[in-house]
Symmetry: C2
Subunit: 199 residues, 2 copies
């Protein structure tokens, strides 16, 4: 006799794979879904598929976009001579929310990490260098998390952008060292943007 | 210019509706999903729909089931004269995991709560009384959370099952008062089952 219902356990396992969801939360979520009308579940499933179909990554900055070029790169009113470098797409939204930045972005997709075999070629460094040359970028604002990997990636970027004539700057302190950009408040991030310092 | 991608925000909102998921976790989950291959997203969406299509509630005990009658009610080797009353379907799995109970179950679907207008007719009390009479149930084990609503629901059940000839018992203490059955460990729940006391 089975202790569990197969289709229920399968879905619990799908939820367990997601970040920040443990086994008890996964079970709780699935029991909650079981009580919902079928229509709502179908909406949920459709939103999943739709997002995956519609959302691409901008071919210039690798930010999320429903078009080939994202709305930030398309926006001619933004300062084309400034590029802000972030680790993940989520960081673009976090910085945009501060309303203190009107330049472009470049999403690295990770940080340098010799332990995990992530070198410059694994990140989107070649594309960044191309954009710096083409846009005659005067400033590269490095907005990475203040961790060991973040700082060493920043140092690497400083080394490669300086010969291209771009001034490297980074977010001012104000972010607690060892912390995560994702959990800082908007005012702190806004101030850190304004107070960015040359490195 | 939109700050957000519509299909991404829509999915974040779907995740925010789920229990135990806050706005930051929802965003984190969706960015994680964006990195997965489309195949895995389709599997996830299909698991959702499939579960909703396949899973019904047992017409006798209201436990989850892919058939009209669940595997526990169908199991002739189980003690038909004992019924264990639980609040939610998840509680059946928790009790089954202890391996200490071989009777049947009855899922109430909630607790009595005058404030929320939940009276005996909102719960599955009539079905319970019918089953007690039909199976000539000798013992009704009340396995509800040791909260105010749980205790008062237990008292109500004691009052209605006693005239039907069934002895009401409840889980022994061992569960911290004011706590939640879902977060207790299996050994504690197993001991509470063995030490159940008459009320």
């Amino acid at each position: 006799m089975p202790l569990y219902i197969k289709s229920v356990e399968k879905l619990i396992n799908e939820f367990r794979k997601l970040p920040a969801i443990g086994p008890k939360s996964a079970r709780r979520i699935v029991y909650y879904l079981l009580k919902l009308p079928p229509r709502q579940i179908e909406d949920f499933a459709r939103s999943l598929i739709e997002m995956k179909e519609k959302v691409k990554f901008c071919s210039l900055c690798h930010n999320l976009s429903e078009e080939d070029i994202c709305h930030i790169c398309r926006d001619g009113s933004r300062d084309q001579e400034k590029i802000c470098i972030v680790e993940e797409v989520g960081d673009v939204t976090i910085l945009e929310k501060t309303g203190r930045y009107r330049g472009l972005y470049h999403v690295l997709g990770g940080l340098l990490s010799p332990i995990d075999n992530i070198g410059p070629t694994e990140l989107r460094i070649p594309g960044l260098m191309e954009r710096i040359k083409k846009n005659r970028v005067s400033e590269v604002i490095i907005a990475l998390n203040p961790t060991v990997e973040g700082e060493s990636t920043a140092m690497y970027i400083k080394k490669i952008v300086t010969p291209l004539g771009a001034k490297p700057t980074m977010l001012a302190s104000g972010l607690p060292v060892g912390g995560d950009l994702e959990y800082a408040d908007e005012i702190t991030i806004g101030r850190a943007l304004t107070d960015r310092r040359e490195i």
